[in-house]
Symmetry: C2
């Protein structure tokens, strides 16, 4: 009942009217859920923001809960699309110090991307907010996001960190270390309001993001140095 027909051959592949309605609802819901929370958002607001009818939500997604799950799917697709390239294997340039330096350079690039996206990007704010709410109140939507984003990204970062330090990628310590590094980035979004007030900033744009990236990059390099120098 919910699935669009994919029947005979000669049919317009590009967004049917129904597809437009679906994506409009998802976009609106993602925005409102992130901004006012799931419970704080009414289906009427979503429908109005999407220029769709209230009944469309039940028709296309089975209800408000189904729409939330669809938002999670949209997020997974989006993140995989924009974060995939930066996380790619980078054709491991070799073992030894050459490889370590290359891995560290990749970490720098990823950090810059992460800060730019998570902290500064305005259009990504709704996604981050949505995920943060899911993290503090897990539903089935989090399962999809964890499996599609958190798990693969964290695992990849652990591998790169291992390549940069010589540690074991899946060691408990490495996994915790990577979480701590991610935390440095993410907190500037979670604690955004506190950061703005304490720093006297009115917003976090490119300039402020660059300052944040500088400090965090310096931190990560220091940590890497300590971990590496520990073996001696």
């Amino acid at each position: 009942m919910n699935e669009r027909q994919t029947s005979s051959g000669s049919r317009e592949v590009t967004s049917s009217q129904a597809e437009q309605t679906r994506t409009a609802l998802i976009r609106a819901a993602l925005n409102l859920f992130g901004q006012k929370g799931f419970d704080g958002t009414s289906t009427r607001d979503i429908a109005a923001a999407a220029n769709a009818n209230i009944g469309s939500i039940a028709y296309h997604f089975g209800g408000k809960e189904g729409l939330r799950l669809a938002c999670a799917g949209f997020i997974v697709e989006t993140i995989q699309r924009i974060a995939g390239p930066a996380m790619a294997a980078a054709a491991v340039p070799g073992e030894g110090e050459r490889g370590e330096a290359a891995a560290m350079a990749q970490i720098d690039a990823i950090l810059q991307r992460m800060v730019g996206f998570i902290v500064a990007e305005p259009q990504a704010g709704e996604i981050v907010q949505f995920v943060l709410r899911e993290l503090s109140h897990p539903t089935a939507a989090l399962d999809a996001i964890y499996a599609g984003v958190f798990e693969p990204v964290h695992r990849r970062l652990c591998a790169i960190w291992a390549a940069a330090t010589g540690e074991e990628a899946e060691a408990e310590e490495t996994r915790l270390r990577v979480f701590a590094i991610i935390g440095q980035v993410v907190y500037f979004r979670i604690g955004r309001e506190a950061v703005l007030r304490r720093m006297g900033w009115s917003s976090i744009g490119l300039t402020e993001a660059a300052r944040i990236t500088g400090v965090i990059t310096e931190n990560v390099h220091a940590i890497r140095g300590a971990v590496k120098g520990r073996s001696s």
Copy 2:
């Protein structure tokens, strides 16, 4: 209408019946707000959990919004009470390397306390959750929490960090650095669900908190070393 009487002299100082109702409502609200969010919590649930009548909320706090503000006040009092001693001036034992080592030792102690409280303490979870929700959706309650907790704690940490590194306490870089350090701790609460799944943990107790503290402490020491060694 909202204020409790503080009338004649010979009155039992210990919790009057009204005072009990007030604190019961605040405790219940704090718990439920943190668990299900402000919009997700009904005044009926709060009253039921506090064994009080629905009307009591309007009577004592003027409404649901007033109760949220009262929760913020309760949080400020609580944090100041349990975090105050650890943050205290520690009677600065002197300048030079002696002072730096002492400051670093105090940072270690504070880190351990912070992780233990923010990440592991179950009864503090509701407070953290409440604050996190306020951070992502600021109301007047956040103003109280920022002024009573965030600002003084962050400022104090900056001062201690300055004493441990020789940097300037209120420099932009120092403030950002302290935020990054706090972020390492806080993320293990925000991303709790993701951490649990990735680490294969079923909960974060004393054992897990100790592992986290170990990694973060190592990180902070590495960062301090890099910042100090930079001047050469």
